[in-house]
Symmetry: C2
Amino acid sequence: MEVKVLKNILSANDQIAARNRELLDSKGIFTINIMSSPGAGKTSLLLETIKRLKDRFKIGVIEGDISSRIDADRIAQEGVPAVQINTGGECHLDANMTGTALANMPLDKINLLFIENVGNLICPGEFQLGENKKVLISSVPEGDDKPYKYPLMFHIADVIVLNKIDLLPYVRFNMENFTKGVKALNQNAEIIQVSCVTGEGLDKWVAWLLANVTRPAR
Amino acid sequence: MEVKVLKNILSANDQIAARNRELLDSKGIFTINIMSSPGAGKTSLLLETIKRLKDRFKIGVIEGDISSRIDADRIAQEGVPAVQINTGGECHLDANMTGTALANMPLDKINLLFIENVGNLICPGEFQLGENKKVLISSVPEGDDKPYKYPLMFHIADVIVLNKIDLLPYVRFNMENFTKGVKALNQNAEIIQVSCVTGEGLDKWVAWLLANVTRPAR
Protein backbone atom coordinates (compact mmCIF):
# COMPACT_ATOMS: atom_id res chain seq x y z
CA MET A 1 0.00 0.00 0.00
CA GLU A 2 1.21 3.43 -0.87
CA VAL A 3 1.25 5.84 2.04
CA LYS A 4 -0.04 9.30 1.31
CA VAL A 5 2.15 12.04 2.70
CA LEU A 6 0.29 15.30 2.99
CA LYS A 7 2.31 18.46 3.20
CA ASN A 8 1.48 22.06 3.99
CA ILE A 9 -1.88 21.38 5.52
CA LEU A 10 -2.81 24.68 7.01
CA SER A 11 -4.41 24.95 10.39
CA ALA A 12 -7.94 26.34 10.42
CA ASN A 13 -6.54 29.70 11.49
CA ASP A 14 -3.89 29.75 8.77
CA GLN A 15 -6.48 28.84 6.13
CA ILE A 16 -8.61 31.82 7.12
CA ALA A 17 -5.51 34.02 7.33
CA ALA A 18 -4.63 33.05 3.75
CA ARG A 19 -8.16 33.98 2.69
CA ASN A 20 -7.87 37.36 4.46
CA ARG A 21 -4.56 37.95 2.71
CA GLU A 22 -6.06 37.11 -0.67
CA LEU A 23 -8.87 39.58 -0.08
CA LEU A 24 -6.46 42.29 1.07
CA ASP A 25 -4.14 41.67 -1.89
CA SER A 26 -7.07 41.86 -4.31
CA LYS A 27 -7.91 45.28 -2.91
CA GLY A 28 -4.28 46.46 -3.03
CA ILE A 29 -4.10 46.83 0.75
CA PHE A 30 -0.82 46.40 2.65
CA THR A 31 -1.43 45.13 6.18
CA ILE A 32 0.63 45.48 9.35
CA ASN A 33 -0.01 43.57 12.58
CA ILE A 34 1.14 45.55 15.63
CA MET A 35 1.84 43.60 18.79
CA SER A 36 3.15 44.45 22.28
CA SER A 37 2.65 44.13 26.03
CA PRO A 38 -0.27 46.07 27.53
CA GLY A 39 0.50 49.78 27.55
CA ALA A 40 3.69 49.72 25.46
CA GLY A 41 2.23 52.34 23.14
CA LYS A 42 0.53 50.64 20.19
CA THR A 43 -2.27 53.21 19.91
CA SER A 44 0.09 56.13 20.57
CA LEU A 45 2.41 54.98 17.77
CA LEU A 46 -0.58 54.56 15.47
CA LEU A 47 -1.86 58.07 16.20
CA GLU A 48 1.58 59.56 15.48
CA THR A 49 1.85 57.47 12.32
CA ILE A 50 -1.56 58.58 11.07
CA LYS A 51 -0.63 62.24 11.61
CA ARG A 52 2.52 61.82 9.53
CA LEU A 53 1.22 59.56 6.75
CA LYS A 54 -2.45 60.31 6.24
CA ASP A 55 -1.71 62.37 3.15
CA ARG A 56 0.41 59.60 1.58
CA PHE A 57 -1.74 56.57 2.36
CA LYS A 58 -5.41 55.86 2.81
CA ILE A 59 -5.19 54.32 6.26
CA GLY A 60 -7.59 52.03 8.09
CA VAL A 61 -7.27 50.54 11.59
CA ILE A 62 -8.61 47.40 13.25
CA GLU A 63 -8.41 47.63 17.05
CA GLY A 64 -8.25 44.48 19.16
CA ASP A 65 -9.10 44.57 22.86
CA ILE A 66 -10.71 42.23 25.32
CA SER A 67 -13.24 44.93 26.08
CA SER A 68 -13.82 48.68 25.68
CA ARG A 69 -13.77 50.89 22.57
CA ILE A 70 -11.27 53.42 23.92
CA ASP A 71 -8.67 52.84 21.21
CA ALA A 72 -11.02 52.80 18.20
CA ASP A 73 -12.57 56.06 19.40
CA ARG A 74 -9.12 57.67 19.64
CA ILE A 75 -8.29 56.53 16.10
CA ALA A 76 -11.63 57.58 14.62
CA GLN A 77 -11.08 61.11 15.97
CA GLU A 78 -8.25 61.36 13.43
CA GLY A 79 -10.75 60.82 10.62
CA VAL A 80 -9.51 57.30 9.88
CA PRO A 81 -11.92 54.34 9.50
CA ALA A 82 -11.61 52.19 12.63
CA VAL A 83 -13.24 48.91 13.59
CA GLN A 84 -13.03 47.71 17.20
CA ILE A 85 -12.94 43.98 17.88
CA ASN A 86 -13.80 43.03 21.46
CA THR A 87 -12.49 39.51 21.95
CA GLY A 88 -14.53 39.05 25.13
CA GLY A 89 -11.71 37.33 27.00
CA GLU A 90 -9.56 35.92 24.21
CA CYS A 91 -5.96 36.96 24.67
CA HIS A 92 -5.14 37.52 21.00
CA LEU A 93 -6.72 38.30 17.65
CA ASP A 94 -7.14 35.38 15.28
CA ALA A 95 -7.75 35.23 11.54
CA ASN A 96 -11.47 34.66 11.92
CA MET A 97 -11.99 37.76 14.08
CA THR A 98 -9.88 39.70 11.61
CA GLY A 99 -12.03 38.46 8.72
CA THR A 100 -15.16 39.69 10.49
CA ALA A 101 -13.54 43.08 11.01
CA LEU A 102 -12.54 43.23 7.33
CA ALA A 103 -16.18 42.69 6.37
CA ASN A 104 -16.95 45.86 8.33
CA MET A 105 -14.10 47.97 6.94
CA PRO A 106 -14.48 50.12 3.76
CA LEU A 107 -11.79 48.16 1.89
CA ASP A 108 -12.21 50.13 -1.33
CA LYS A 109 -11.26 53.32 0.50
CA ILE A 110 -8.00 52.21 2.13
CA ASN A 111 -4.58 50.98 0.99
CA LEU A 112 -2.73 50.65 4.29
CA LEU A 113 -4.29 48.69 7.14
CA PHE A 114 -2.95 48.55 10.69
CA ILE A 115 -4.22 45.82 12.99
CA GLU A 116 -3.60 46.61 16.66
CA ASN A 117 -3.51 43.28 18.44
CA VAL A 118 -4.56 42.61 22.06
CA GLY A 119 -1.86 43.73 24.52
CA ASN A 120 0.01 40.50 25.18
CA LEU A 121 3.65 39.63 24.57
CA ILE A 122 2.96 35.93 24.10
CA CYS A 123 -0.13 34.51 22.41
CA PRO A 124 -0.61 36.95 19.48
CA GLY A 125 2.73 35.69 18.14
CA GLU A 126 1.16 32.33 17.35
CA PHE A 127 -1.69 33.57 15.15
CA GLN A 128 -1.39 34.71 11.53
CA LEU A 129 -4.06 37.25 10.63
CA GLY A 130 -3.27 37.70 6.94
CA GLU A 131 -0.78 40.53 7.45
CA ASN A 132 2.23 41.44 5.30
CA LYS A 133 4.45 42.53 8.20
CA LYS A 134 4.60 42.09 11.96
CA VAL A 135 5.69 45.02 14.14
CA LEU A 136 6.66 44.45 17.78
CA ILE A 137 6.66 47.40 20.15
CA SER A 138 8.74 46.98 23.29
CA SER A 139 8.95 49.86 25.78
CA VAL A 140 11.77 51.09 27.99
CA PRO A 141 9.97 50.78 31.38
CA GLU A 142 9.26 47.08 30.68
CA GLY A 143 13.00 46.47 31.05
CA ASP A 144 15.87 45.24 28.90
CA ASP A 145 15.28 41.54 29.67
CA LYS A 146 12.13 41.13 27.61
CA PRO A 147 13.78 39.40 24.60
CA TYR A 148 15.17 36.75 26.95
CA LYS A 149 11.81 36.08 28.58
CA TYR A 150 9.48 36.36 25.57
CA PRO A 151 11.61 35.00 22.73
CA LEU A 152 8.94 34.04 20.17
CA MET A 153 7.64 37.56 19.71
CA PHE A 154 11.11 39.00 19.18
CA HIS A 155 11.97 36.12 16.84
CA ILE A 156 9.04 36.61 14.46
CA ALA A 157 8.97 40.43 14.30
CA ASP A 158 9.89 42.14 11.03
CA VAL A 159 10.83 45.28 12.94
CA ILE A 160 11.10 46.16 16.62
CA VAL A 161 10.08 49.62 17.81
CA LEU A 162 11.54 50.47 21.21
CA ASN A 163 9.13 53.08 22.56
CA LYS A 164 9.27 55.49 25.54
CA ILE A 165 12.97 56.33 25.17
CA ASP A 166 12.11 59.65 26.87
CA LEU A 167 12.01 57.59 30.10
CA LEU A 168 15.60 56.28 29.73
CA PRO A 169 16.97 58.83 32.26
CA TYR A 170 14.51 57.64 34.92
CA VAL A 171 14.65 53.83 34.73
CA ARG A 172 17.26 51.08 34.71
CA PHE A 173 17.55 49.94 31.11
CA ASN A 174 20.69 48.46 29.59
CA MET A 175 20.46 49.11 25.85
CA GLU A 176 23.35 46.77 25.11
CA ASN A 177 21.67 43.88 26.91
CA PHE A 178 18.39 44.54 25.10
CA THR A 179 20.08 44.70 21.68
CA LYS A 180 22.13 41.57 22.37
CA GLY A 181 18.96 39.69 23.33
CA VAL A 182 17.14 40.78 20.18
CA LYS A 183 20.06 39.98 17.87
CA ALA A 184 20.38 36.46 19.30
CA LEU A 185 16.78 35.79 18.25
CA ASN A 186 16.47 37.85 15.11
CA GLN A 187 19.35 38.93 12.88
CA ASN A 188 17.19 40.85 10.45
CA ALA A 189 14.81 43.02 12.43
CA GLU A 190 15.92 46.61 12.78
CA ILE A 191 15.45 48.15 16.25
CA ILE A 192 14.00 51.66 15.98
CA GLN A 193 14.16 53.78 19.13
CA VAL A 194 11.25 56.22 19.46
CA SER A 195 9.30 58.35 21.88
CA CYS A 196 5.67 59.02 21.00
CA VAL A 197 5.72 61.81 23.60
CA THR A 198 8.69 63.85 22.33
CA GLY A 199 8.52 62.60 18.73
CA GLU A 200 12.15 61.50 18.79
CA GLY A 201 12.92 58.71 16.32
CA LEU A 202 9.52 58.77 14.64
CA ASP A 203 11.16 59.93 11.40
CA LYS A 204 13.08 56.62 11.36
CA TRP A 205 9.88 54.66 11.94
CA VAL A 206 8.17 56.54 9.10
CA ALA A 207 11.21 55.87 6.87
CA TRP A 208 10.93 52.15 7.67
CA LEU A 209 7.27 52.20 6.69
CA LEU A 210 7.93 54.07 3.46
CA ALA A 211 10.66 51.58 2.54
CA ASN A 212 8.64 48.49 3.44
CA VAL A 213 5.04 49.20 2.53
CA THR A 214 4.59 47.99 -1.00
CA ARG A 215 1.46 47.68 -3.10
CA PRO A 216 0.75 43.95 -3.23
CA ALA A 217 0.97 42.37 -6.68
CA ARG A 218 -2.59 42.03 -8.01
CA MET B 1 -35.67 7.39 35.67
CA GLU B 2 -33.97 9.58 38.14
CA VAL B 3 -31.62 12.12 36.60
CA LYS B 4 -28.37 12.59 38.40
CA VAL B 5 -27.41 16.22 38.82
CA LEU B 6 -23.72 16.62 39.51
CA LYS B 7 -22.56 19.80 41.12
CA ASN B 8 -19.17 21.33 41.73
CA ILE B 9 -17.29 19.18 39.28
CA LEU B 10 -13.90 20.78 39.16
CA SER B 11 -11.98 21.18 35.97
CA ALA B 12 -8.78 19.17 35.72
CA ASN B 13 -6.83 22.30 36.60
CA ASP B 14 -9.01 23.12 39.59
CA GLN B 15 -8.71 19.56 40.89
CA ILE B 16 -4.94 19.77 40.85
CA ALA B 17 -5.10 23.27 42.36
CA ALA B 18 -7.20 21.89 45.23
CA ARG B 19 -4.58 19.17 45.75
CA ASN B 20 -1.80 21.79 45.78
CA ARG B 21 -3.74 23.80 48.31
CA GLU B 22 -4.24 20.76 50.53
CA LEU B 23 -0.49 20.05 50.45
CA LEU B 24 0.36 23.68 51.21
CA ASP B 25 -2.19 23.83 54.04
CA SER B 26 -0.82 20.63 55.53
CA LYS B 27 2.62 22.23 55.64
CA GLY B 28 1.32 25.49 57.11
CA ILE B 29 2.33 27.48 54.05
CA PHE B 30 0.46 30.62 52.96
CA THR B 31 0.64 31.13 49.20
CA ILE B 32 0.38 34.26 47.08
CA ASN B 33 0.03 34.30 43.28
CA ILE B 34 1.54 37.48 41.80
CA MET B 35 0.36 38.49 38.33
CA SER B 36 1.02 41.43 36.00
CA SER B 37 1.94 42.56 32.49
CA PRO B 38 5.51 41.91 31.37
CA GLY B 39 7.89 44.28 33.16
CA ALA B 40 5.43 45.73 35.68
CA GLY B 41 7.78 44.84 38.52
CA LYS B 42 6.84 41.43 39.94
CA THR B 43 10.43 40.39 40.66
CA SER B 44 11.38 43.85 41.93
CA LEU B 45 8.46 43.83 44.37
CA LEU B 46 9.42 40.34 45.50
CA LEU B 47 13.04 41.36 46.12
CA GLU B 48 11.93 44.36 48.20
CA THR B 49 9.45 42.17 50.07
CA ILE B 50 12.08 39.56 50.87
CA LYS B 51 14.44 42.24 52.24
CA ARG B 52 11.74 43.51 54.57
CA LEU B 53 10.17 40.22 55.67
CA LYS B 54 12.84 37.55 55.60
CA ASP B 55 13.27 37.74 59.36
CA ARG B 56 9.53 37.33 60.00
CA PHE B 57 8.68 34.61 57.49
CA LYS B 58 10.48 31.66 55.94
CA ILE B 59 9.94 32.65 52.32
CA GLY B 60 10.07 30.52 49.17
CA VAL B 61 9.52 31.62 45.56
CA ILE B 62 8.32 29.85 42.42
CA GLU B 63 9.24 31.81 39.28
CA GLY B 64 7.24 31.36 36.09
CA ASP B 65 8.66 32.41 32.74
CA ILE B 66 8.39 31.16 29.18
CA SER B 67 12.15 30.84 29.14
CA SER B 68 15.29 32.01 31.01
CA ARG B 69 16.24 31.73 34.69
CA ILE B 70 16.96 35.41 35.20
CA ASP B 71 14.32 35.90 37.89
CA ALA B 72 15.03 32.77 39.93
CA ASP B 73 18.73 33.66 39.98
CA ARG B 74 17.92 37.15 41.29
CA ILE B 75 15.73 35.69 44.05
CA ALA B 76 18.22 32.98 45.01
CA GLN B 77 20.88 35.66 45.53
CA GLU B 78 18.77 36.81 48.49
CA GLY B 79 19.24 33.41 50.11
CA VAL B 80 15.66 32.34 49.50
CA PRO B 81 14.76 28.96 47.97
CA ALA B 82 13.65 29.57 44.38
CA VAL B 83 12.35 27.19 41.72
CA GLN B 84 12.14 28.37 38.13
CA ILE B 85 9.39 26.98 35.89
CA ASN B 86 10.01 27.47 32.18
CA THR B 87 6.64 27.03 30.51
CA GLY B 88 8.24 26.67 27.08
CA GLY B 89 5.67 28.81 25.34
CA GLU B 90 2.65 28.56 27.63
CA CYS B 91 1.38 32.01 28.51
CA HIS B 92 0.47 31.27 32.14
CA LEU B 93 1.24 28.94 35.02
CA ASP B 94 -1.27 26.19 35.70
CA ALA B 95 -1.87 24.01 38.74
CA ASN B 96 0.04 21.07 37.29
CA MET B 97 3.21 23.09 36.67
CA THR B 98 2.84 24.51 40.16
CA GLY B 99 2.54 21.01 41.61
CA THR B 100 5.77 20.00 39.90
CA ALA B 101 7.50 23.06 41.31
CA LEU B 102 6.17 22.27 44.80
CA ALA B 103 7.75 18.82 44.56
CA ASN B 104 11.08 20.61 44.08
CA MET B 105 10.63 23.15 46.88
CA PRO B 106 11.79 22.47 50.49
CA LEU B 107 8.25 22.77 51.86
CA ASP B 108 9.28 21.96 55.44
CA LYS B 109 11.56 25.00 55.46
CA ILE B 110 9.10 27.68 54.32
CA ASN B 111 5.84 29.17 55.55
CA LEU B 112 5.21 31.91 52.96
CA LEU B 113 5.32 31.05 49.28
CA PHE B 114 5.19 33.57 46.45
CA ILE B 115 4.40 32.34 42.95
CA GLU B 116 5.45 34.82 40.28
CA ASN B 117 3.28 34.10 37.27
CA VAL B 118 4.23 34.58 33.61
CA GLY B 119 4.01 38.25 32.59
CA ASN B 120 0.57 38.45 31.02
CA LEU B 121 -2.43 40.56 32.00
CA ILE B 122 -4.96 38.08 30.60
CA CYS B 123 -4.54 34.29 30.74
CA PRO B 124 -3.07 33.79 34.24
CA GLY B 125 -6.35 35.15 35.62
CA GLU B 126 -8.14 32.00 34.47
CA PHE B 127 -5.99 29.44 36.27
CA GLN B 128 -6.12 28.60 39.97
CA LEU B 129 -2.78 27.36 41.25
CA GLY B 130 -3.73 26.54 44.84
CA GLU B 131 -2.98 30.00 46.20
CA ASN B 132 -4.60 31.79 49.17
CA LYS B 133 -4.45 35.28 47.66
CA LYS B 134 -4.02 36.85 44.24
CA VAL B 135 -1.95 40.02 43.89
CA LEU B 136 -2.14 42.11 40.72
CA ILE B 137 0.65 44.56 39.96
CA SER B 138 -0.20 47.33 37.53
CA SER B 139 2.42 49.96 36.68
CA VAL B 140 2.16 53.66 35.95
CA PRO B 141 3.77 53.66 32.47
CA GLU B 142 1.23 51.06 31.28
CA GLY B 143 -1.41 53.77 31.54
CA ASP B 144 -4.57 54.43 33.52
CA ASP B 145 -6.85 52.60 31.07
CA LYS B 146 -5.72 49.07 31.97
CA PRO B 147 -8.74 48.18 34.20
CA TYR B 148 -11.07 49.03 31.30
CA LYS B 149 -9.15 46.87 28.82
CA TYR B 150 -8.23 43.88 31.02
CA PRO B 151 -11.20 43.61 33.37
CA LEU B 152 -10.89 40.00 34.55
CA MET B 153 -7.52 40.46 36.22
CA PHE B 154 -8.67 43.56 38.10
CA HIS B 155 -11.90 41.81 39.05
CA ILE B 156 -10.29 38.75 40.67
CA ALA B 157 -7.39 40.44 42.48
CA ASP B 158 -7.38 40.49 46.29
CA VAL B 159 -5.13 43.54 46.23
CA ILE B 160 -3.78 45.80 43.49
CA VAL B 161 -0.26 47.18 43.75
CA LEU B 162 0.28 50.20 41.50
CA ASN B 163 4.04 50.20 40.93
CA LYS B 164 6.47 52.76 39.45
CA ILE B 165 4.79 55.81 40.98
CA ASP B 166 8.23 57.48 40.77
CA LEU B 167 7.45 57.87 37.04
CA LEU B 168 4.21 59.82 37.63
CA PRO B 169 5.89 63.19 36.86
CA TYR B 170 7.07 61.92 33.47
CA VAL B 171 4.05 60.14 31.98
CA ARG B 172 0.38 60.83 31.38
CA PHE B 173 -1.49 58.92 34.07
CA ASN B 174 -4.87 59.93 35.44
CA MET B 175 -5.09 58.40 38.92
CA GLU B 176 -8.79 59.18 39.20
CA ASN B 177 -9.57 57.32 35.96
CA PHE B 178 -7.50 54.33 37.10
CA THR B 179 -9.17 54.20 40.52
CA LYS B 180 -12.64 54.58 39.00
CA GLY B 181 -11.92 51.69 36.61
CA VAL B 182 -10.73 49.45 39.41
CA LYS B 183 -13.63 50.26 41.73
CA ALA B 184 -16.17 49.47 38.99
CA LEU B 185 -14.73 45.94 38.79
CA ASN B 186 -13.70 45.30 42.35
CA GLN B 187 -15.14 47.00 45.42
CA ASN B 188 -12.91 45.20 47.89
CA ALA B 189 -9.37 45.29 46.59
CA GLU B 190 -7.22 47.98 48.12
CA ILE B 191 -4.99 49.90 45.67
CA ILE B 192 -1.50 50.32 47.14
CA GLN B 193 0.75 52.84 45.38
CA VAL B 194 4.43 51.93 45.50
CA SER B 195 7.80 52.51 43.89
CA CYS B 196 10.29 49.67 44.11
CA VAL B 197 12.99 52.19 43.09
CA THR B 198 12.44 54.84 45.77
CA GLY B 199 10.79 52.52 48.31
CA GLU B 200 7.77 54.81 48.62
CA GLY B 201 4.61 52.98 49.71
CA LEU B 202 6.34 49.67 50.39
CA ASP B 203 5.49 50.04 54.09
CA LYS B 204 1.80 49.92 53.13
CA TRP B 205 2.37 46.80 51.03
CA VAL B 206 4.20 45.14 53.92
CA ALA B 207 1.34 46.15 56.25
CA TRP B 208 -1.14 44.53 53.86
CA LEU B 209 0.89 41.31 53.89
CA LEU B 210 1.17 41.29 57.68
CA ALA B 211 -2.59 41.78 58.00
CA ASN B 212 -3.51 39.16 55.39
CA VAL B 213 -0.98 36.35 55.68
CA THR B 214 -2.43 33.87 58.10
CA ARG B 215 -1.24 30.43 59.07
CA PRO B 216 -3.67 28.04 57.41
CA ALA B 217 -5.74 25.92 59.80
CA ARG B 218 -4.10 22.49 59.99
